[in-house]
Symmetry: C2
Subunit: 349 residues, 2 copies
């Protein structure tokens, strides 16, 4: 039985062929369709589980399974290790996903998902922002200027008329070299400015928080002079005890989590009761005309990352890989000559 | 970042080099050590979870994570699809496992685990039988003569002086071709006999049940004329509602589950209350001299499969692979030139 390995080189081939902008647009379109058509009875998506630890370093490894009934399963393994960038020169979020055929239980594909995780997270913010943010939003504030800030900016630039980006990071060097890091994105029409946090918060039409703030050390900005219509994509909270947005802001906002149960455990929704939380992302998309009314009010997208998004991205990459003949076949499991003899493959080899 | 793929061909290379008997002996030794030294605080092994479904076929896909604190994580995906042998000519149990480094969250290895799953399951039965069965047990009864029956026989033949094997399968053809299927095992000193179920049950010193009995259709033999000292390895029960052993037998036996919580959900222990269940496998091994007293009584090993066993087998295969230079390196995740730019690898490639 063949298993296709989609390595980072395959992802490179696909994205170079398709183009980064088009790939992001396709991700936004595929996820929008999936949310619009989402039917609970067609999927099983349990809440993710994982290991949290403090040794050998602070880390979280989670498994995120999703099954489309009568079709296939995607299980994504994702690690969050906030010390990766400084200690290992690695992204803090690393990810690999596995597809299984429900006819046999065979693993049909293994995919590097670090890039697609960044893309789908950014695409989800773009989808939420397109509905909840003012459609003429032009000033984006990025609180935290690491890897995720780049993909968030990229996705938002595809759906909103951004003119200026205000940058804040607790590490000034990271905000200062941001412009250099996005040079290849072709966003030269957008003005990039390092900014004091208070100015960023008071001027932004949209704020994205993508910080590695420590547990118990949030929020990452104060509820001070925010634009009344500000839309916040709270992306960094994905760990019990980690929050980025002041509770007073959340309490007066329409708060849309990607996955309610999980957001209440790991996201900004930790700070709220169930009755203070608005529609989830699928409801937001399915009833978008109703929720566009909130564009002049404060709104928050509480993004924790949802296995459905990974399921859809997996399909998207596999579709392109098939078109471009990417991926490496491995004989992961033997086609037994006699499936009732567990040792037969030793003799047939 | 490199990920090593250990395909079925690599497993073949390793087992051919080591020898099947020695490999089984090593598995029994490694698992015995792991059980003897098992310290709950050194591992996190949550109960496995999964998807159960009836379409497109009856199936169960589970993920079995285990973390050695301060070291690494192994997560095994395992599918149980009882129609695989007849419909797909595939084993009913297929499996793949993933190792992650807890320093970074990187997936360091991906391993075909179908063979090692059979081996570790059989090795666990051998370990339990060595303690609970009479040490002169010579007659083994196999109820269900598929793939798992072969590895069970193999493992037991390494630890007990077997002289005769009695075979029963609801598919008579499967019991009749069993002798042919084990020809390569070098067990010519053991007499292999197809037997009526009642005779098997009344003559066996040890019984192994490895059936695909449907949910709600167990048990697979009657509590009739069993040897008072019989030891039963109940291997097939691994699904809610699936049982193989009569409850009356369980109630008068010392019942040792591999993993208590899980056995109560999926194994024979579904039929018992907590206070009717004996030591788990680690306690059995750690206090083996105490439990050898039960050799003259009826005993049951309730095997559901435990993630610690897969963790240990993963280490064993990886050790041999390293010695023999097996496995294929794949650039699963890019070594980012700038870990704060999620798109940089597209340019560096």
């Amino acid at each position: 039985m063949k298993t296709i390995i989609y390595s980072s080189q395959d992802i490179v081939k696909i994205v170079k062929h398709v183009g980064l902008d088009v790939f992001m647009d396709e991700a936004i379109a595929a996820l929008t369709s999936a949310f619009a058509e989402f039917d609970k009875s067609a999927y099983e998506i349990p809440i993710r589980d994982g290991f949290e630890y403090h040794h050998p370093t602070l880390g979280l490894v989670e498994w995120m399974p999703a099954m489309k009934v009568n079709s296939h399963i995607v299980l994504k393994m994702v690690g969050y290790h906030p010390n990766n960038p400084t200690v290992q020169n690695l992204p803090s979020v690393l990810s690999t996903s596995f597809s299984l055929d429900t006819k046999t239980g065979h693993v049909t594909g293994i995919m590097d998902s670090t890039f697609t995780t960044a893309i789908r997270t950014a695409a989800a913010s773009a989808i939420a922002s397109r509905i909840m943010a003012k459609s003429d939003s032009s000033v984006l504030g990025l609180v935290g200027c690491g890897a995720q800030a780049i993909s968030q900016l990229h996705a938002l630039s595809r759906v909103l008329p951004l003119q200026q980006v205000l940058l804040f990071d607790t590490d000034i060097a990271v905000s200062k070299n941001f412009a250099k890091r996005i040079a290849a994105l072709g966003l030269s029409n957008i003005k990039i400015t390092v900014s004091p946090l208070t100015e960023l918060v008071s001027r932004a039409d949209i704020i994205c928080t993508t910080t590695s703030v420590d547990i118990g050390h949030g929020p990452v900005f104060h509820d001070d002079m925010l634009q009344p219509h500000v839309h916040i994509n709270a992306v960094g909270s994905d760990f019990p005890g980690k929050v980025e947005v002041p509770v007073s802001v959340l309490k007066r906002s329409l708060v849309c989590p990607d996955f309610m149960q999980q957001a209440m455990l790991e996201g900004e929704c930790q700070q709220l009761c169930a009755n203070e939380i608005g529609p989830d992302l699928t409801q937001l998309v399915q009833q978008s005309s109703e929720y566009q009314k909130y564009r002049n009010q404060t709104t928050v997208f509480d993004s924790t990352g949802w296995a459905l998004e990974d399921f859809i991205m997996n399909n998207l990459v596999a579709k392109y890989a098939s078109e471009l003949n990417c991926g490496t076949e491995v004989q992961m499991t033997t086609e037994a000559q006699d499936c009732k003899d567990p040792y037969r493959f030793l003799r047939d080899a």
